[in-house]
């Protein structure tokens, strides 16, 4: 089941982000090539890729925090939707974008706490817990949303000084609104947390073998609570991105399955922050390219592009190409002895 091949009795591990990285290199090569031929179009496609990928990256990070600690979270969609709504409403009431951003993250964190209580304290089935969050979010946002509210605006791009002047890379990566930067930062920070800090090691231990972790003195419950709450806050940022950066306004059921694509991205990225971020960028690129091809008169139905993440996820969980394996203790409530 491990990712890797036996070699003289040693297991040589292929890192989880290896295959997405190969995709990434190909993408960059193609991008550079097409940039030399047509700079403005390439820039537009790359920027669209980033805009599409950011909520998926954040949503997938939410999944990673929860699931690495052993909590299945299929409520990302609902967390995103409700956070998008509260961020929007805060923006409508106060006109303060920073407050709105915090409101979104806080809403996500609260829903994360709700999921944690459901799964840790009440020991409910976590998949039902996530479903409750999803239905609840549709209900509450639909119930309280009224058409015709206006905001004073959304986050504008922040130029990162000289970096923004680099051709292609500058406008695409270093001239973005704040949540986009936060998302990229969080990917890197999360990767360091999970694989290079004590907290990350403990979290992974709790997700793989809670009893062993408990025996070694790790507080399983605390670890699970905190990770689920942090994850929730990240899903909240993803929701806030939609209303404060991406679309700029709220619509009923505006997440439109992004929470579930995030889930697919997480699995395709093998529960690994960098792998998932690359997967999110890949799906973002597919979408951006489809739109661009449509402008050029080549019409691939967008539904086929839309299917890619889901189909690829089925392929990797089935082990047809490089199996993606979830944390072992996922979904089971922990009982102290």
């Amino acid at each position: 089941m491990t990712v890797g091949v036996m070699n003289n009795g040693k297991i040589r591990r292929r890192p989880a982000w290896a295959s997405p990285l190969i995709f990434g290199v190909i993408v960059i090569a193609v991008a550079v090539f097409s940039f030399m031929k047509n700079p403005s179009v390439t820039e537009a496609v790359m920027s669209a890729m980033i805009r599409f990928a950011v909520p998926l990256m954040l949503g997938a990070l939410c999944g990673i925090y929860c699931e690495r600690a052993g909590i299945v979270n299929i409520g990302i969609e609902g967390q995103m939707l409700l956070s998008a709504f509260t961020a929007y409403m805060t923006n409508v009431w106060t006109g303060n974008l920073i407050l709105a951003l915090l409101a979104g993250a806080l809403t996500g964190a609260l829903l994360g706490y709700f999921l944690a209580v459901i799964s840790i304290k009440l020991k409910l089935n976590q998949i039902i817990g996530g479903t409750v969050i999803n239905i609840l979010a549709i209900g509450i946002t639909g119930f309280f949303y009224q058409v015709g509210m206006t905001t004073k605006g959304k986050f504008g791009p922040i130029r990162l000084g000289p970096l923004a002047k680099i051709p292609l890379v500058g406008p695409v990566l270093f001239n973005n609104p704040p949540i986009t930067y936060i998302a990229f930062l969080m990917v890197i920070i999360s990767h360091i947390i999970f694989f290079h800090t004590r907290w990350g090691l403990r979290t992974r231990a709790v997700g793989e073998h809670p009893r062993a972790a408990d025996t070694l003195g790790i507080d399983v419950f605390k670890t699970r609570y905190l990770n689920t709450i942090i994850g929730g806050a990240l899903a909240g940022l993803a929701g806030a991105f939609l209303t404060l950066e991406g679309v700029g306004t709220f619509e009923r059921n505006m997440t439109n399955g992004r929470g579930f694509i995030a889930l697919a991205v997480m699995i395709f990225g093998k529960w690994n922050p960098i792998g998932s971020a690359l997967a999110a960028l890949l799906f973002g690129l597919a979408n951006a390219l489809q739109t661009q091809l449509q402008f050029m008169g080549i019409n691939i139905p967008h539904q086929f592009i839309g299917m890619i993440p889901y189909a690829l996820t089925i392929v990797v969980v089935s082990g047809f190409i490089g199996r993606s394996r979830p944390p072992a203790a996922e979904g089971t409530p922990y009982e102290k002895e």
Partner: protein, 366 residues
């Protein structure tokens, strides 16, 4: 404490013990809904009265309630059947869509058939499509170990995309006035008729619920399905073909959901239109759990949810309450019925027997 003394009407006691938690869960959910209504400045009693009127007030309202109930029964049975085999069918939505679009296609594409034959053919097509869509996660679960929750979630979205494409592409309604993505109206010969205010589809649904109950409780196949659900290892050592059983459980689940989608297309909507049955798969989970994974319980809980959905429009019109409050109440029902711990603490029920639902764990397990 009276419950502990043995009484003569024991089966009544058993029924009561089985239904009290769902009943209290419904009550608690309605209370939460009432609080939200109060906070938003609406009168909960007025709203609920309007909801009830809208669900059962006259023959037309009743008809709509039963129309809403019918696909819920199928979706609930689908989820229930998978539960019995220890599988979590999140994919009822996708299976339902595949069934609905297949039935819709057969309904308009075939012309000149006698009515009953046309209906049967379209229903069979829808069932087959749903069953096929259950077969995929079934095979993947049994032979590659991919957890059915992941695969069915992904298959749901593949189905949404695929049906959207078909409804906006090759099978689109090309008549002059139509601009939206949908299939043409089905032929009259494919329409499932009404029996007064009672849709024939509803009667079929009740019949199917009986059949499923019989299958689960009185046949070898049902026994084996139940036993796999309770302990798949023990079942394998007892000589059962657990992989085949799990696969067939998902096939049956898919067939039921596909059946539901077909009945909705042929009996209610009259064509396939994307988004018309959004959320029905998750409703199926609610209905199955409220019904304690019992086919008759599924009928009752579907009636409840169907009444809420049927009456929502009248409530919105009469009491000026957005119909989304129904979703809030539904999610709370789902929460309270699963969190029977909470219910038991709230209402001081010490012990609960009967109707326990065995659920699968997360996708970390095999």
């Amino acid at each position: 404490m009276e419950q502990k003394t043995p009484s003569k009407n024991n089966w009544l006691m058993t029924i009561w013990r089985t239904i009290r938690v769902p009943l209290l869960a419904i009550l608690s959910a309605l209370l939460v809904g009432a609080v939200i209504l109060l906070v938003s400045g609406a009168d909960p009693l007025k709203a609920y009265a309007a909801l009830f009127k809208g669900a059962f007030g006259n023959a037309n309202y009743l008809k709509r309630t039963l129309e809403k109930t019918t696909p819920l029964i199928f979706a609930g049975l689908s989820v229930t059947f998978a539960f019995k085999a220890g599988l979590f069918n999140i994919g009822a939505q996708g299976q339902l869509l595949m069934g609905a679009i297949t039935a819709g296609f057969l309904g308009f594409a075939i012309k000149g058939l006698p009515p009953v034959l046309h209906i049967v053919l379209a229903l069979l097509g829808g069932c087959a499509a749903g069953a096929f869509y259950g077969l995929i996660p079934g095979l993947l679960r049994s032979y590659s170990g991919a957890h059915e929750v992941i695969t069915t979630i992904m298959l749901n979205y593949i189905a949404i995309n695929l049906t959207d494409y078909l409804a906006d592409g090759p099978w689109k309604d090309r008549s002059g006035t139509n601009v939206i993505a949908r299939l043409p109206l089905i032929e009259d010969s494919a329409r499932i008729p009404f029996f007064g205010p009672v849709p024939v589809g509803f009667i079929i649904a009740i019949l199917i619920a009986f059949i499923i109950w019989y299958m689960l409780e009185r046949t070898n196949f049902g026994f084996e399905i139940n036993s796999v659900g309770l302990n798949s290892h023990a079942s394998r050592y007892a000589g059962m073909k657990t992989k085949l059983l799990m696969t067939s459980a998902l096939v049956v689940a898919g067939l039921l959901a596909g059946f539901g989608g077909s009945v909705e297309t042929l009996g209610v909507v009259g064509r396939f239109q994307p988004g018309f049955n959004a959320g029905l798969g998750f409703d199926g989970i609610t209905v199955a759990l409220l019904g304690r994974s019992n086919p008759f319980g599924v009928i009752l809980s579907s009636l409840l949810l169907g009444a809420m959905k049927g009456g929502a429009n009248v409530m919105q019109f009469d009491a000026k309450v957005p119909h989304e409050i129904i979703d809030v109440i539904q999610s709370m029902m789902l929460f309270f019925v699963t969190a029977d711990l909470v219910i038991r603490k709230l209402f001081r029920i010490i012990k609960d027997t009967g109707g326990e639902v065995t659920l699968t764990a997360g996708w970390g397990q095999k």
